[in-house]
Amino acid sequence: MNATSTTHAPAIRLTDLRKTFGALAAVDGIDLTIQSGEVVALLGPNGAGKSTTIDLALGLADPASGSAALFGGQPREAIVAGRVGAMLQGGALLPTMTVAQSVALIAAAHRHPLPVWEALERAGCTEIARQRVSRLSGGQMQRARFAVAIVSDPDLLVLDEPTAAMDVEARRAFWQSMREFTDAGRTVVFATHYLDEADAYADRIVMMAAGRVVADGTPGEVKAVVSGRRIRASFDFAWTAEVEAELRELPGVRSLEHRGDVLTLVSDESDAALRTLLSHHDDVHDIEVTAHSMDDAFLALTVTPSVEPVEAGAGPRVMPSVEPVEAGAGRAGFDGIDPRAHERGPRIATRPAIGGLS
């Protein structure tokens, strides 16, 4: 399956997008296609170019070169048609208005908005509808902004760090509302630097650093590419040099260590490694397979190769000379959304050393 086989234009298509502020290349050549129905996290540290990319994608800023298209047309056309809702950096509500008034005013500017009460309800704002914006807590404010973003009943939601200033409970509630809203197959792109959030809520992660895409794949793929999976198991056999040599021959092994009667093995092909391990040893038990955390992936991909930390026992992880991992066939989509867009494995871009960044 490839992108051209779908009859619908992608929700977002960015082509060699560039934007400079003075000497700084805020966005330095981004190619990105996001299909309808995808939930994509734009992950990166502050200054990675996430917000600028969003502004360019929405047509709120003009690129130095390259182009941005939404649903196959100009971004402005999609906005006028009410197909785009967004929570932007630096976009806020007026302090003197109530939440309901804010939503109503934006609704009045749209051509076919949702009823105001419905937008409020879907964003979990019914109880704060009559409150003044100036009196809202950080989490309530974000929910109010979410209500404003969805009042046009958009097909594409762009959320720039939507859960900033939220506590854990508010974040959970926010993503709950977001999921309910996206169940109908809407496309969501959210920027975040909460790694766990990208991992938990996106079915695709686009990692950015220094205005470039440095990795693009499912959370599982991105993590697997960077660090493989960690297999921990208890064993009953005696640890000998032969056994160790045998275990090192398992598919995709990067590192192996043992402590007492527990072995830890990191493999790029954990499924195959596990299968082989189990077929050869019936004296292995209490098996645990865990993905490396997003933080590991993030660090590995956004730190310049030359300063890459060497993990104990793993040997130097050479930057992205990585074989494409097979597309995640049969992987469960995000809340029933067909993850059809993952026709390819993660693309890991080789990043030239950029002066002054790291």
């Binding site: 709120l60 809702g85 806020a92 005013l105 934006i106 009045a108 500017a109």
Partner: protein
């Protein structure tokens, strides 16, 4: 742009407490003060041939309308500083639509101010003029307010929040003095009278008086107002486009 949006936006501006004080309270107090002192005698103004209380009413209503319109500058500055502007750019509202909504809101607030002051004058001082003359006076003042609505939008676009107040004051006092709203032009140097002919505040008052008299040569004020409208409008559109890109 929808009527619903214009209605909500204008209502919102009408409810703004700060603008209410500026646009209703101040001219109202001045009207009551001046009217109480000079107005009850029924004297006529020599220049216009209108009852003195009518001239004062027109002047204060014009002042109120001008304040009401200029006051919209603060609303825009606030909207820009908090990023409401960016939120609006994600709607079908165009740059021109945004501009128009602000001008409409300014004109609605100004009209309410003008009408309220005339009503108070009629009730309190029994200022007598035919309904048609009052209506034309209000209309004349209202048309005269248009450039101020545009000036307000322009201040709103250019001023940082901390400079909005001083800029507002400079424009307001400058316009009031140059236009002869405070000091009669007859006591000012001749060149000041020439300058007055090209500032909108001069014609604001004159248009109100022409309306009240149901007569006068409207060609010159029409041309002056049109010129101001075109120039200010062009500036506003240019600035809006520049603001459009975040950087």
């Amino acid at each position: 742009m929808s009527i619903a949006y214009l209605r909500l936006e204008s209502l919102r501006q009408l409810k703004n407490v700060r603008s209410t004080i500026f646009t209703f309270a101040v001219p109202l107090v001045m009207l009551l003060l001046f009217g109480g002192i000079y107005g009850s005698g029924g004297q006529f103004d020599n220049v216009t041939g209108l009852p003195w209380i009518v001239v004062t009413t027109v002047q204060m209503a014009g002042y109120g309308g001008m304040m009401a319109a200029l006051g919209q500058a603060f609303a825009i500055v606030t909207e820009r500083s908090v990023g409401w502007n960016r939120q609006l750019r994600l709607t079908p509202l165009t740059g021109m639509g945004y501009l128009v909504s602000k001008v409409v809101a300014a004109l609605v607030v100004a009209l309410v101010s003008i009408v309220a002051l005339i009503v108070v004058s009629v009730i309190v001082f029994h200022a007598s003029l035919s309904p048609a003359a009052w209506a034309m006076a209000a209309l004349g003042l209202w048309l005269g307010v248009i450039p101020f609505a545009l000036i307000a939008v322009l201040i709103g676009q250019f001023a940082r929040p901390q400079f909005a107040q001083p800029l507002f004051m400079v424009v307001f006092f400058g316009m009031a003095i140059l236009g002869g709203l405070w000091v009669p032009l007859s006591v000012l140097p001749v060149w000041m009278k020439d300058v007055a002919q090209i500032v909108p505040s001069y014609w604001l008052n004159r248009l109100g008086q022409m309306g009240a008299r149901l007569g006068g040569d409207v060609l010159e004020p029409a041309l002056v107002l049109l010129a101001w409208t075109v120039v200010l409008g062009a500036f506003i559109v240019w600035r809006y486009r520049r603001d459009a890109a975040r950087q």
